[in-house]
């Protein structure tokens, strides 16, 4: 939201490297790991802990285990790879159940809804699950998780 429109990379314009990494920042503004931690936890934002455990956040109740643990994720993947995974996990892990967080094209979905209302999407407001800056923030946080 804070980044200027010119610096922001639109979902349709993502530039991939080796098909799994996105080297360039999506927002043009460095990510803030503290805000990224919030995106990871908040149900209304990334809600990543719905599927992933993170031992670095022992106070967060009810962490899911549908995906791999975040422990050591910053050691396993480079920043560019983490950006690729968070922006479009299905590009990196074909067929993954992990949602695509950076795609604003309703035509790519079957019966896209208006958030959690059960109603049809509104073409005026349909947007990415996370903003460019929120993805930068999450990636910045994930790079700090180098311990197993």
């Amino acid at each position: 939201a804070g980044a200027s429109a010119s610096a922001e990379v639109k979902p349709a314009d993502l530039v991939w490297e080796d098909e799994i990494a996105i080297p360039a920042s999506l927002s043009g503004t460095a990510g803030d790991p503290a805000k990224g931690a919030e995106v990871l936890v908040k149900r209304s934002l990334g809600n990543c802990v719905a599927c992933h455990e993170n031992s670095a956040m022992p106070d967060v109740a009810f962490q899911g285990n549908v995906g791999p643990s975040f422990d050591g994720v910053g050691a396993r993947w480079s920043e560019a790879e983490l950006r690729g995974i968070v922006a479009n996990a299905k590009q990196v892990f074909p067929g993954s159940i992990m949602p695509v967080f950076y795609n604003d094209n309703p035509d790519d979905y079957i019966r896209p809804g208006d958030a959690y209302t059960a109603k049809a999407y509104n073409p005026e407001t349909f947007t990415t699950l996370l903003t460019a800056q929120q993805i930068e923030d999450v990636v910045a946080y994930l790079t700090t998780l180098t311990e197993y």
């Binding site: 962490q63 285990n65 979905y109």
Partner: protein, 271 residues
């Protein structure tokens, strides 16, 4: 907190559902042949719940769903509509006339349409009693379906999936594997590939419907199969389907068939 995973990861290994100390309801089964090895074993949702929730269903005085059953029984005997009839006037004792009915639902009617239990009830109301149809998932309709379901308690799920039912079943199956919504999740994503796992606070079961209508502690009332389906699809950030829609009847048939081998629970309790 980290325990959210391992501590409750699996269906209970050996719990048995014995109601009132005498009726043993089958909660584990060999998968039906049509599942083609998709899951190694079939489990009732009951096995994924806590000790406390499971025990509620073993005792009819503790089982809050039984209040709905009682209300359904009262309605069974109550005259309604311009024809001046009650259900009992035509069907007599539900313990006999409705025995086994819920276990075969949804099923194809004489006109070749696939109908859920709710449709049969409403058809009798409108066509035979000249009363209003009850709203799908309303308390009154859920209570009646609960009363009918309890008459099939402990009887094996026996839905027909071949012959005239097959095209409906095929469409339901397609729907089960469709990745709906902006989160692109199918029923299978959660209930086939990840049962036993946790999604945030939720411990995923196989999404069986042999216990429906079900009393949800979280909502404090009975809910219908279609209400559950509607919520699960909504949670994929999708435009859901209407309760009572053709799509949900077909999905209901397919999901019921994934529970072939289990017994009808005749009103379950879940969280």
């Amino acid at each position: 907190v980290a325990l959210s995973g391992a501590a409750s990861a699996d269906p209970h290994p050996d719990a048995e559902l014995i109601i009132e100390g005498e009726l043993n309801v089958k909660v584990r089964a060999e998968p039906a042949a049509h599942l083609d090895g998709a899951v190694p074993e079939i489990y009732s949702g009951w096995l994924f719940r806590t000790d406390e929730t499971r025990s509620l269903q073993m005792d009819d005085f503790e089982n809050p769903a039984m209040l709905g059953v009682e209300a359904g029984q009262d309605a069974w005997n109550t005259v309604e509509g311009a024809a001046g009839k009650s259900c009992a006037d035509c069907h007599g004792d539900a313990a006999e006339s409705m025995k086994g009915v819920r276990a075969v639902m949804p099923k194809v009617n004489d006109n070749g349409d696939l109908w859920s239990t709710e449709d049969y009830v409403n058809n009798c109301r409108t066509e035979r009693m000249e009363a209003d149809a009850l709203k799908w998932n309303s308390g009154d309709l859920n209570n009646m379906v609960a009363y009918i379901s309890v008459q099939s308690r402990g009887m094996p799920v026996a839905v027909q999936i071949d012959g005239e039912a097959e095209p409906f079943w095929e469409r339901g199956k397609d729907m089960y594997y469709t990745r709906f919504g902006q989160l692109e999740l199918s029923c299978a994503s959660c209930h086939e590939e990840n049962y036993g796992m946790n999604i945030r606070a939720d411990h995923l079961s196989q999404g069986q419907i042999n216990g429906f209508p079900t009393y949800r502690l979280k909502q404090g009332k009975l809910i219908s199969t279609h209400n559950r389906f509607r919520g699960c699809i909504r949670d994929t950030r999708a435009e859901s389907f209407a309760m009572g829609s053709q799509e949900f009847r077909e999905l209901e048939l397919y999901v019921a068939s994934r529970g072939l081998g289990l017994d009808t629970e005749g009103v379950a309790v879940r969280n």
